[in-house]
Symmetry: C2
Subunit: 213 residues, 2 copies
DNA sequence: AACTGTGAAAACTTTCACAGCC
DNA sequence: GGCTGTGAAAGTTTTCACAGTT
């Protein structure tokens, strides 16, 4: 298989979301042009992205919505349910825990950890917040595959080292810090402050040089 | 000025964060190599990124930490305090409201809106959650410049249209949906489900073809 | 006629490599 | 000697444009 870029994978996720909406509305065929306009890209880009994984469309017709949903779910590894642990039961952790879009795509949070003794023992919608100290054992017992790290920046690398040692190979990181992990472990960082600074840059540039995008 | 790419701006934010840590630790000089290794990029990339905005370093020596902090803050538009409104007082809104890194970089949340009558009137750390209906007036009265949209996907476009009509030109969007805005309005979307699907893709690919990055 | 799949071209981003300065 | 600033080269991603299929 050819090499597939990060932005391509992001767009595939977007297409999948749109396709699921279309399927919901009983639309059964869609063109690359339609997918493009709904996802803010171009028809050629949609076709190129999909063509990296096979030929799913019918010339003259477009793509079958149900088929493409199935294909994209397979490509993105969303046919199985992933077992997820949440490390850090603060506000960001709570937000994620309640985030419906996670569950819907098959990401099941099956353990929550925190160091704070006042949080340990709390019931979160049927799950009990567990002490950080027993994390490794619980991860193994429950076959957790993905961890969401929602702890303060200074604690993040330590947590990640323990997760990696416990065999976790996928990490979604909310701590605004660079994380070092060995090859074979995948980290995605969600950095809200960084996006906000991107806005700040764009807005102040518009003030300085009106007309710039 | 030359055109500056999105990834460059993201890296500048990362450099700034590192530089502030270095300044905290009273380090006064740093090389591109050092910045690069701490931010997961290359020395050439650091120098190229900075050189787009001026010549800040000293050959043979490196960069002055305090000077570079000042310069980057100016470049990113972080010298002023931005007035921010939060639309949606759910869990994601609450997480953002308490997020220290926002406040620290000068993003001050000065209004919170929600449609839910049980939320309206709640005190959030000194701020009162206000009814969505009065949003436009409050935005204007308080001179709000940036809005954070943390409402359900189906409500997001409607909210954004109202924000744009009220003169907001910068939006940080947490709703997993494509938003249409006129030219001159900047939207950054934080999409956690999308990042999670990126992890799913990477992990299931490793299972299928071991050894792939 | 409508629309996909895809090589080739264009645009963009990163890396290299070295001259120039401290 | 150490390190920056930067043109030129390499690599990557997007767009174009059209042959091919239904």
């Amino acid at each position: 298989m050819k090499k597939v870029s990060e932005p391509t994978i992001g767009r595939l996720s977007v297409y999948l979301r749109l396709l699921m909406e279309l399927a919901e509305a009983d639309v059964d065929t869609v063109s690359s042009e339609e997918l493009a306009s709904r996802s803010g890209t171009t028809a050629a880009q949609v076709r190129k992205d999909l063509s990296l994984f096979g030929t799913f469309g019918k010339r003259g017709l477009g793509y079958s919505v149900p088929e493409l949903v199935t294909r994209l779910r397979a490509i993105l590894g969303l046919e199985k349910a992933w077992r997820v642990a949440l490390v850090g039961a603060g506000r960001i952790g709570a937000a994620l825990f309640g985030y419906e879009n996670f569950r819907r795509q098959g990401f099941n949070i099956e353990a929550v950890f925190d160091t704070d003794p006042t949080k340990v023992g709390q019931r979160w919608n049927g799950l009990v917040v567990e002490a950080d100290a027993g994390m490794e054992r619980v991860l193994e017992e429950r076959g957790i595959e993905i961890a969401v790290v929602a702890v303060p920046a200074r604690a993040a690398q330590g947590v990640v080292d323990r997760l990696v040692a416990a065999g976790i190979r996928g990490i979604l990181n909310f701590a605004p810090t660079q994380l070092d992990v060995p090859a074979g472990v995948v980290v995605k960082t969600v950095d809200m402050a960084l996006e906000m600074e991107g806005l700040s840059y764009a807005l102040s540039r518009e003030e300085r040089e009106p007309g710039a995008a």
